[in-house]
């Protein structure tokens, strides 16, 4: 598993496409989804998936549980997630929950990942 993170618009996806020779068809965009298509190689925008799960109050779904439950299926993936950890505490409770859940998921993934990369202004630094 490779975890690639960085702030918004830092060129994370472009970095992965170039460095891992990824074709468009291999990318799963989390956009409006609450579940991951594990047939794809790259999972892009994990923070969006986490927010979508949290927004869906009906089934009280827990994004951290969803990620832990599916960890085995993620071991051969490249996961791209936006770092949202550096601002002030959001006043909106949903965004507070979101920030917390993304942090926990990233910690969990980075523990299991064989490689962790931070992208800053398009430049990747291998942290692990």
């Amino acid at each position: 598993m490779v975890l690639v993170f960085g702030g918004a618009y830092q060129g994370k996806l472009e970095y992965v496409i170039q460095n891992y020779k990824i074709r468009e068809i291999e990318i799963f965009y989390c956009d409006n989804c609450k579940e991951i298509d594990f047939s794809r190689k790259v999972i892009y925008g994990l923070e969006k998936l986490i927010l979508n799960i949290l927004k869906d109050l009906k089934d009280e779904a827990d994004p951290i549980e969803y990620i832990s439950k599916n960890l085995d299926k993620m071991m051969d993936k490249i996961i791209i997630c936006t770092d949202i950890s550096c601002g002030i505490v959001p006043t909106d409770p949903l965004l507070r929950q979101w920030r917390e859940a993304v942090g926990r998921c990233m910690a969990l993934l980075s523990q299991r990942a064989e490689r962790v990369i931070r992208v800053f202004c398009g430049i990747g630094t291998v942290l692990k």
Binding site: A8, C121, I123
Partner: protein, 187 residues
Amino acid sequence: MLRIFISGGCKNGKSYFAQKLARGQSEGRMYYLATMRPCDNEDYERIQRHRKERHGWGFITIEQPVDILQCLNICDTNASFLLDSTTALLANEMFPASNVVNLNAPKKIAEDLTSLCKQINNIVIVSDYIYSDAILYEDLTEAYRKGLAFIDRKLAAICDVVLEVAFGSIVIHKGREVFMPFYEKIL
């Protein structure tokens, strides 16, 4: 003679650090490209404070809140330049007046700065890293953030050195081999 791009969190010493680098690579004339466009008294006071802080450093201040390439009409291109900041430059060009938005500004500024860096090889450019908070912004703010990041990435690609300043410490993202000999000399 380096093109140095600096980013990092706000209010953590980037400007002071950038001034030191610009002075360090100066062999004569030094220009400070000031980008802030004053809107009210608070801005005027801030600009006065910044000018006072720079006093004695030897910078010639050029007010260039928009159309950055115009500075080349009056400046000596062999001098040392400091541009602080792309953040203000983009705000000025993207939001030229109330209720006016120029969505083409990021592309235009990226092109201007690329051209500037081709004509000057001794420049420090400061930006702000505003990309890691957990807030869902409305479309206009998001477009501004995306635009600034676009400019940042272009500059990071063409500059010799890319630095992240974190409260006085630095992370060298690009150009360690050319930056360190220079940095050790001016420390």
